[in-house]
Symmetry: D2
Subunit: 357 residues, 4 copies
């Protein structure tokens, strides 16, 4: 009752960082959807480790192996299960975490919940590696949505103190989302790229890590998707997005900025744009009452800095019940924000695909 | 598949603003819990309309009538259903909204989803009035949690540009939460109160409205509640909180501030406090990997300004498919932030009660 | 986590036999469905007590009061909540059940699960009275299905040793189902009626009760509804049907008779009937692999005899932990089979309505 | 929304008969449970093909490969995923089924639901092979239950017209269940074995198949497990049992026999057995009001004859829309009842394990 989500679609994530495999089962997707595996692999590559000079040197092929649900390149209506086998595990790196929980990680809470049997190697089931499985499911949903004229994309909105421009909330087009998809460091303002790289390299040089934010959008959505109350678009997206490790906040449309607005500023006037009902502004982020308005659906998520840093940190030896210091030796990203971008696209794609089924 | 939520507890909200009643069914609460109805009514009064000079003059008794689940003042194990009958409805006020959707409201999206049969009077099922039902369920959960030594409270963190202090994330005690509960304008810094009132009165005077943020905390939580992935504490709380109308964002612990931190700053060192494992700081907001750490659980939510304002606004006549202006005549709050405070407490109480069952 | 069911539709039943009201919330029904309240009340009357000479003399108006979800006689898309207020309760009759559990009832298991706080008056939440709420939801679903050309009906297949004919599984028409609906004792063979009445009166005369079976059918179903595995039509129907008290078995199509067949007899050959694919026989009961075949969907359910009988029975005084005898004085049906008929129609209607949403 | 089940535990089955693998994810099982893999494999062998002279000659090792959730032989709290790779597939056997649906199979309904993309090879996702995955999950739950003193076992209650004795419903002990587990043809009456074998061989000789019934029991259950209404023990067990292909009926306790009883016969008197509350008889099958009574939980399920028979059968060519005959050449059991026995034990174990979590 945790790693399985069931709504109109259902989604089950499994695997541990240093286990045999991570994987996903996605159930409820229509039959007859052709999967472009090259496109799917390209999507997964954006999340894969080892793509940046500063990134963790752990190299995994990250190519999914499909066990079910796809016949002759098309979905057959049965649940889709895909796995990524772990070929490059180095559990020895993590030996010391078994007793001394890493600050900012789930080691301690997993230990309390699951006792001495928790698999803490590399974060176990809590590892960011599980997002590879999320991205398989999301990548499939993205392809299905495209056939419905729905496009999803995201960019790095900030890394540390470096901020990119934000989406123009009433004017996001497919070409822009495609362009972002192709970028190694997907940003709207070309000048942001080098600043982002510098910010991350600075953190790395100082044996530290840095957080950031991602802005994600869906366009081409018809009005009327979603529901009031608990199964609204915001509720479902938030429930999925908080399954991505390190996420500490989410906001839709104007989000926290709406809190400092007046109603006369925040309210989005309805207008006619060649017979199509739109809003003049889009502070509502494409969702009113949990239901899509047909305007771009936009959210931003906050990602805390990677907790694994090589600086000495203060912790506790859980067996001895006494203070202990910890130096994390494993391979870690100084910043996971660039790699997190496709994870948010995946979560959004699953939520939207769920709402159109 | 919308207004019913089912996890370990289940929760079903029903009713429309100007229908016969709003109500709630809460299922899964243990038998034998004594309900203090005076305390419950006091809790509901904090949300009730008509409490502030500026608030909507609509007066409802807002006293719940229990239809089931409680015998001799105690829960009997059967589902608890309570209703609040609508006695003071004035549907005529809303006649013009039937064709011309109010900017910032769900009128338009409800019309697209439900067609001409949507009940748009006073927002129908999307009305803030439904939060009265949420608060009944939450108020019961709050009482159950108190018997487990778990206390929940909240304060207004900001209204417009006025900001209150934030909770000291490592030191929140029961006395503070009780004190906030007693305050008409619950704020941490005594000087904030008059500023908040002034900010709201200014908005009202200008026929406008104003948004804000609420900070909510739970203390006394044992470590180990919750789950990884989709049923983590953040996921469940977020799913419930976005059922409160006008919420546009949520952040846990340091939240969006964590995105500008370095890992060395963001990571919360583990320390021993007389044999109890705690963290020195609490940027994680009491949740690591979806599971409680035993530190105070803290979130903040952004509330957009009440969309109903008496200024003339631009919209569309949906029947004529042509631009139309709209002046909203109904009774509306210039700021719902003070009344929203107990709604967040209720949502958090339900999520925590679900996790301990 | 018990009396709330959530699939595409959601359903929440609440109330206790001698509480303020019993009721139901049905969520997910499309907007714009006109409800024929006379037809709904006629449907509910078939379940109502006091319709037969032998039936419990408890008279309840059993007219539902709608609290939400219906505006101007049509569904508005919001959850539909209806209650039936309990006006004729006589809790004193049940006083002795509080300590001495009635054999065949849920008194003992409710006492173990909920402790001394369980509401055992008249069976509390376990009472057959809750099926009135189920029938409100089912009656609404029946009306919606009729607009899709789907008709549901049922007959008494047996009472005690008296057996009615069974449906011709390949030829059930709307006229027959309507005729059954109009009958006080719905049976296929006209000669069964008096035998059924005699069987029940015999049981009553001997201070005893008698069980029976009901056969229920849906016609007009398109092929392709349902799902493999856990959400198949059989699974969902069974999950709902076992919520009707006293049901001890369910079988689809040939059911237990299929177990004594050879494959060559059991297999239903596919044939063309004026371009429509049908089966020559219907041992599969309209469901193959959890998915409708387009043939009549047929199930039979076994109902145990009403456990409340006025004969002295052997039980245990739970407080004294010693043997005790029990004479049940309350008002009880010697046979609930006739009143159970619409309950099965309701459960089937909800399951089918869920599958077409 | 089909092959994933979510309650306190969650269960996701995936795979197709002739795909790469079949498998299961079981989530929610406590951490620290040691899995006896030899015992698990012995359990799975009882379902494996090729064990009987008459059985399908398809030989699969059927040894599960664990991908996640188990570390050092013990559950670690993360979802448990296991797969069985398909090594001996012969899709060519099934080529003709792609257009001409096999009577009694899900070919036709899968074709309607999933269109030309349905994987019909060997039944695809509807194949009995998926029960291997169910048995992995169930076998794990069985081991967990044993540590709680709960034992589950089953026997063949009938094959065709051959009937075994039934369980003594008030006296089933662990030794008996263990003995049944060891038997190739698990029956209570030693004389039944040869009759069962003869009945199956007769059917095989006549190019036919034969159905039967299985009786399944759980002992050692505490009173008070389960819930009223939709999540009662009967509801949950039935929902899981109907996921086993070919099941057409289920009955609990006296089941359909209760329908011909009088209440005075059907009611199970409460008695004290050395301070333990029991019932004198067990027509209720260990469940009252959806909640366990502490008496043995007993159900029987009806299994239709294997629909795959080598006799010529009448069907339809779906492409040509004209009648067609069909001769099934694949490898098929004349009777799946013996192999189905552990499947019911598995379904019951999952349901009970769910209720104690």
């Amino acid at each position: 009752m945790a790693s399985t989500w069931k709504n109109r679609l259902s989604l089950s994530l499994f695997g541990q960082s240093h286990g045999a495999a991570v994987g996903v089962t996605l159930d409820g997707v229509p039959a007859g959807e052709r999967i472009d595996f090259d496109a799917l692999n390209a999507f997964l590559q954006r999340r894969a480790p080892g793509r940046f000079p500063w990134a963790t040197p752990r190299k995994e092929s990250d190519t999914p192996k499909f066990l079910s649900g796809i016949v002759n390149g098309k979905t057959c209506g049965a649940p889709i299960t895909a796995i990524i086998e772990n070929t490059n595990t180095r559990p020895a790196d993590y030996v010391n975490t078994r007793l001394v929980p890493r600050p900012g990680h789930a080691d301690y809470t997993a230990h309390v919940k699951f006792g001495g049997n928790a698999d803490l190697s590399g974060g176990g089931h809590f590892s960011g590696r599980l997002t590879a499985a999320l991205c398989i499911a999301g990548g499939i949903c993205l392809q299905i949505l495209q056939k419905h004229g729905i496009f999803i994309g995201a960019h790095i909105a900030s890394v540390g103190s470096v901020r990119d421009d934000l989406f123009n909330p009433v004017d996001i087009n497919e070409a822009l989302l495609k362009k972002l998809f192709e970028m190694n460091i997907p940003v709207l303002n070309p000048q942001t790229e080098s600043l982002v790289i510098k910010e991350i390299e600075n953190a790395k040089r100082e044996n530290d890590s840095v957080g950031g934010t991602v802005e994600c959008a869906a366009i081409g959505l018809p009005a009327g998707l979603g529901s009031p109350m608990f199964d609204g678009m915001e509720n479902i997206i938030a429930q999925l997005v908080f399954a991505i490790p390190a996420v500490k906040g989410i906001e839709f449309g104007a989000g926290f900025s709406a809190a400092v607005m007046r109603g006369s500023e925040s309210n989005d006037a309805f207008i006619l744009n060649s017979d199509k009902i739109e809003t003049k502004t889009n502070n509502h982020g494409g969702i009113l009452g949990g239901i899509t308005s047909g305007m771009p659906l936009i959210f931003r998520a906050a990602i805390k800095p990677t907790p694994s840093i090589s600086q000495e940190q203060q912790s506790i030896d859980l067996l001895l019940s006494e203070p202990a210091t910890l130096s994390i030796k494993g391979r870690h990203d100084p910043c996971i924000v660039p790699r997190a971008v496709p994870c948010f696209e995946a979560a959004l794609a699953i939520a939207v695909c769920d709402s159109i089924n």
